[in-house]
Symmetry: C2
Subunit: 190 residues, 2 copies
């Protein structure tokens, strides 16, 4: 009985995160209400504060979940499993829900935005994940590992933007190969 | 008298484009009305359709004006004047009004967005400006000039995004130097 209640609690949480991710991507963060999210998830509105505290807590859960999948994929490619981090990234770009990151960005760069801090931590985590795998000696003289990391994370963000605006103009497979050629062998391996 | 009228017409147009750029960056495209723009510019609302046709025409004028400065700077660096295209780009990123490109992006990636097409043309023009200066033989085997161009324009977009979210975490001068090291000598020259 207790186990079933826990399962139902986790299921509710998952449904709410999925509904919120969809609605934030469709309408933006500020324009989305608890009522919208509860209706989409088919779950009572009162359970949202119970699960997430407030709307920012829900946004954090959405971002964590979406980014976790990508970072976990990159981390997995470091271990025994033969994975390709760049294929993971391109797969992430292709997910419909990844559009959310562009939609929310507009709000994140507003003055006094409540979600700017979340983006700052997200970008910092992505940079850290790449930076940890860049051997300084593999870079050109005058290139710092930090600056190179900003460039590579920037390239991923900006390739996503261009592809989302005009998918027919951006060949993601060719871009992946071009990016691999720029990366130290360990990070860019096929 | 006629000259003075032309001057006043050009002055009105300029004031309206500036006001619209500021308001689009602050409130987004859809949330900004002709009334807002006319008030900010100190010019009668009725003159906006006369100058720009409709709101999309005004947006086009704003984007054209903002991008024109950057492209003109890059073009100037090709000729006799010793300019640095990457310094031009970093200077463009630092302009307060450049935030507009992130704000509008959220609307550009919405389904049936009226401004998606404008972004598609803008990105295509930026890619074309870079592509024209990339000698295919300078690239790694397996890297197409088109894919390399998408990566470099992407890097600029994504560096802007990261810097706008957390300026203290992104050293634009170091990023410029790292980018220069990735570019064929002609494009990245100091």
């Amino acid at each position: 009985m207790a186990t079933r209640r826990i399962q139902r609690t986790e299921e509710s949480r998952r449904l709410l995160v999925t509904a919120a991710a969809e609605l934030f991507a469709e309408k933006g963060y500020r324009q989305t209400s608890f009522i919208d999210i509860a209706e989409r998830a088919g779950i009572s509105r009162g359970s949202i504060p119970w699960h997430f505290g407030n709307k920012l807590g829900l946004l954090e859960a959405v971002l964590d979940e979406r980014v976790h999948g990508m970072l976990a994929g990159i981390a997995a490619s470091e271990g025994e499993r033969p994975g390709d981090p760049l294929d993971q990234v391109m797969g992430f770009i292709r997910l419909p829900v990844t559009r959310l990151f562009i939609t929310l960005l507009a709000e994140a760069v507003e003055v006094d935005s409540p979600i700017r801090e979340h983006y700052a931590r997200l970008h910092a985590a992505l940079r850290q994940a790449v930076l940890a795998r860049i051997p300084a000696q593999a870079l050109s003289p005058g290139t710092t590992p930090e600056a190179f990391t900003v460039l590579m994370i920037g390239a991923i963000i900006g390739v996503h933007v261009q592809w989302r605006v005009a998918p027919e103009a951006v060949d993601l497979d060719a871009v992946r190969d071009a990016m691999r050629a720029l990366l130290p062998a360990d990070l860019g391996r096929a």
